[in-house]
Structures are given as C-alpha cells and as structure tokens.
C-alpha cells in the first residue's frame, strides 16, 4: 500500500518534471495576433493572416529554429489568452507600457511608429487639444494606449471604443466619428484604400507615460527563456539586414525606432 502510494508519487513527480522540461525546449511557438490591423496584420481574402508582423515573426522563428503557428484572437482577449496558454506570444503591435509590464513580459521594442489623430476630410482645423475637441466624438480601439490616452485627457469629448483596429476608421469614414486616434501607418493604409474620406491631423509624441517606447512581443511572466530567444533573434535580424528587407516590402519610411 505504502509502496503503491510512493510509486504514484514518483509517477506524478516524473510527469511534472517532464512537463516542465519539455516547456523549456521550444519547438513550436504559438503566435497570437488580432488581425484587424493592416498593414501589420490582417486577414486576406483567402483567409490567411498576412502583414508585416507576420513576415517578421516568421523570420524570427526561422532564426530561432522553431515552428511558428499563428492564431487570430480578438484584441480585448489577447492578454487573458496569453496568460491562459492559448498561445505563447502576443505579436500584435502591442505597445510596451509600464501598466502592461506588471502582468506580462515584453521583448525589446521592434518597431515604433507615431500615434496620430485623424479626422474627416471636411474638418479643416488642426487643433486637437482637449478644449477644441470638447463635445466631439472620438473613436479608438478599446484596450489600447490610444484609448487610454483619450480616456484620461479628453473628458469633455464623447469617447467611442471599438473591438477591432479598423472599425474606428470605418466609422470615421461614415461620419459617426469626428476624430480617430490610432497608428499613423494603419491610418495611411485606410486612407489609401478610402481616398478622400479622411485626413491625418497631427502626430503625437511618444512619452513613457502615454504611448511608451514602441511595440514589443509579449510573453507570460515565467517564459523568460522565450523572451531571451526573441531578443537575441531581434538583434540578429537587425544586424544582418533581414529587418530592413522585410520593412522595405511594406513601408517607405523606417519604422524600426531606437
């Protein structure tokens, strides 16, 4: 009886040990992304997730010698999905902020583009101070640095939050919104597809307490080994010019940041 219990205990311990051991060797890395964010990630008509971050993520995987698997995940749920192991890394234009870093682990920054205000083409004023936008409808994707920014500063405006990254722009084009706050390249991509609908008013400065330094990959707090693998691969792709090559396929400007 006693020995049976002991054997069971040994068996359990062995199981646990092998589980932790296999977790250390990364053969497959599951990427979670909210594919509503062209040109960084979106779903093409064939149903594949495509974009800059997909190509870049795949290049990182090739460098780390692991297999990438991409999963589409609603933005509102990316952090819970990561923490409950639905995938292993958030690779979805997530800005590195102190608030988020309390719960998840960030890689080094791999791109930094300007946050912007966009407005309808008919609105000619370039004034986007909270006083000027009082009573106006401002849209943003929810749970983003952009949403936090307007929520904290534009108390007198009507704030509308959307689950997807493209939806605020769709509502700007339709006239439901007066302003949208978001990423400059996403805005440019949208305006390129919907010429004449809207225009970019102004770029906003990145500071540590607003938008953070830029975008990073996010991991579960215990996966420091995975984070180190990513940081190494990020540095290597910078050094050998792979980053530049992928970047040139998508953007005319340099988005790498410092």
């Amino acid at each position: 009886m006693k020995s049976a219990k002991f054997l069971a205990f040994v068996g359990l311990a062995a199981c646990l040990a092998s589980a932790t051991a296999s977790a250390k060797e990364w053969k497959t890395v599951r990427f979670g992304t909210d594919a509503t964010y062209a040109p960084f990630e979106s779903v093409n008509p064939k149903g594949d997730i495509v974009g800059f971050e997909v190509d870049y993520g795949n290049a990182l995987c090739a460098r780390m010698k692991v297999t990438c698997v991409w999963q589409n995940q609603d933005w509102d749920g990316v952090v819970p999905a990561l923490l409950s192991s639905k995938f292993d890394v958030i690779f979805s234009s997530m800005n590195i902020t102190a608030e988020r870093a309390k719960r998840i682990l960030f890689s080094d920054m791999y791109y930094a583009t300007a946050p912007i205000f966009a407005t309808q083409a008919a609105i000619k004023s370039d004034d986007v101070t909270p006083a000027a936008l009082a009573g106006k409808a401002i849209g943003a994707q929810s749970s983003t640095v952009f949403a936090n920014y307007i929520d904290q500063r534009y108390k007198a405006s009507e704030i509308k939050l959307y689950p997807g990254g493209d939806e605020p722009f769709i509502d700007l084009a339709s006239g439901r919104l007066d302003y949208v706050i978001g990423d400059i390249l996403v805005a440019q991509k949208f305006i390129e597809k919907n010429p004449g609908c809207c225009r970019i008013v102004t770029e906003l400065k990145r500071t540590p307490d607003t938008f953070g330094p830029g975008v990073g990959a996010a991991f579960r707090p215990e996966d420091t080994d995975l984070k180190d693998m990513f940081n190494k691969a990020i540095a290597e792709l910078d050094a050998d010019g792979t980053y530049k090559k992928i970047e040139a396929q998508y953007f005319k400007t340099d988005i790498r940041g410092k």
């Binding site: 609603d74 509102d76 929810s142 509308k160 939050l161 769709i170 084009a173 339709s174 006239g175 439901r176």
Partner: protein, 264 residues
C-alpha cells in the same frame, strides 16, 4: 488557493471602483431591451396576421421577413444595420434619417426590434393557431363580429398560450442585448469590457453574469406569478398550459447564435 478563489468572488475594491459603471451599463441595457421588446410586441400581431393571411401579397413577405430574422445571427443583423448604414450614408442623409442610424443606441434598438418582432410574431401566430377552430365557428354561429371573435374568444386564450414563450423571448433578448457592446454602446456588457480592459480582472465578468442572472431570474418569477394569476380558471379542469403548446411554438425560442466577438 481558497484565498485566491475568495479574492476572485468577493473583490470589493473592484466593485467599489467600478460598481457605478456597471449600474450605468445596466440602465442602457434596460432601455434597449424595454424599448425594442415593446416595439417588437407591437409589430408582432400585425406580423402574425400577415403570416396567417390567405392573400400571398401579405403572407409571402411576412414569411420572408420571419425566415430571414430567425434564420440569421443577430450579430450579423446588427453589423448589417450599423456598418451597412455607414456605407449608404449619402442615401440615408438624402432621405433625412441618417441622424437615426448615426447613433449606436438607435441602431441597436432598430436591429433588436426587427429581430424580436420576428420571434414574437411566430409566438403569437402559434398561439392563435392553438385555439380550436370550433370555437371560432361557434362564435360565428352566434353572430359575433370578426372584431369581437378576436377580442373576446381567440385572443384571451391565445395570449395565455403565448405568455410563457413571450417570457422566454424577453429573457433571450436580454442576453442577446450584450451584442450592443460591439457597436460601441456602453451597456452592461460594454461597461464590463471597459472595466476588464482597465483592470484585466476577470471578476468583473462574474459580477456582470450575476446581474444578468438576477434580471432573468426575476423575470422568470414574475412570469410564473402572472401565469398563475391568469390561468386560475384552468387549474382544475384543463391540462397544464404547456400541454397545449404546439410544435410551432417550441421553435420560437431557439438560441440566437451569439458567435463570440467575431468581426466582419
């Protein structure tokens, strides 16, 4: 471990900081559900009459309407109204109704009303069909007018049959109203998502679920009470109301296909 669980269930800080937001959201949910349920109910009787009409000019469009709104997910209908209206804005502006479709609140009312009217219409139709034809024939033999047959013979019995499924439909639309959150409306679900985005604290979903549960449970009890009051005369002599519900009626309370938070 138990401490974690207790902290998850009794998260007083969270309630203290964001409880008001949930109550504000509850108010929007109540408004959306109340307005669209009542409007849907007002549409349901004409719709049921059109469905039962011998004239295909009435019955065919009514059948198409009911088939479409019961056969497609409410999420899809809401997207069609909200983003569809945005696409055809110049047209809506030219006929002077863009102010209505510009507002997410009205879009929700519009989509939910059309949807629940289809379900409620089928409930009413089924309930009327459940009243034995012989009673109508007897009333005609007595020389009663069409209006008086409907008002005094058919409807009192039909409404009793319809009461239970109408209650189910109300509960179903309360739960479905959570979809309003994805078109920016800060209803109970919208506020819950907002708080979660702020705090990453799952407890808030638990509280939202408890509020939804409390409302649906209250309605379910109210309905039991109403049914008991209205069917007192049937208790001794007739079979229970459930026994006279026709197969048609059972179909009326099927689920509405909430497909997560999928987007177009």
């Amino acid at each position: 471990m138990w401490h974690d669980l207790a902290g998850f269930v009794f998260n007083l800080d969270l309630l203290n900081n964001y409880g008001m937001r949930l109550l504000q959201g509850l108010r929007i949910t109540a408004e959306v559900v109340a307005i669209s349920s009542v409007l849907g109910f007002l549409l349901s009787y004409p719709l049921a009459c059109a469905r039962m009409s011998d004239n295909p000019l009435f019955s065919a469009p009514a059948l198409a309407y009911v088939t479409f709104f019961r056969g497609t997910p409410l999420l899809c209908q809401l997207y069609l109204v909200y983003y569809g209206a945005g696409e055809v804005r110049p047209f809506l502006t030219s006929i002077g109704v863009w102010w209505f479709f510009r507002d997410a609140f009205y879009c929700c009312i519009f989509a939910f009303t059309l949807n629940t009217a289809a379900y409620q219409g089928e409930i009413i139709r089924g309930a009327i069909a459940a009243v034995p034809k012989e009673q109508v024939a007897a009333a005609q033999a007595l020389g009663l007018s069409r209006y008086r047959i409907a008002r005094h013979v058919v409807l009192p019995q039909a409404m009793l049959v319809a009461l239970r499924p109408l209650g189910n439909e109300l509960i179903s639309i309360i739960k479905a109203s959570a979809l309003a959150a994805i078109v920016t409306l800060l209803d109970l679900m919208g506020q819950t998502r907002f708080v979660f985005a702020r705090t990453f604290d799952f407890s808030i979903y638990l509280y939202a679920a408890l509020i939804y549960l409390a409302i649906t449970e209250a309605i379910s009890r109210l309905w039991n009470w109403m049914e008991r009051g209205l069917s007192r005369h049937l208790v001794v002599t007739a079979p229970p109301v459930a026994a006279v519900i026709t197969p048609v009626m059972r179909n009326t309370v099927e689920n509405r296909g909430y497909v997560g938070q999928a987007r177009a």
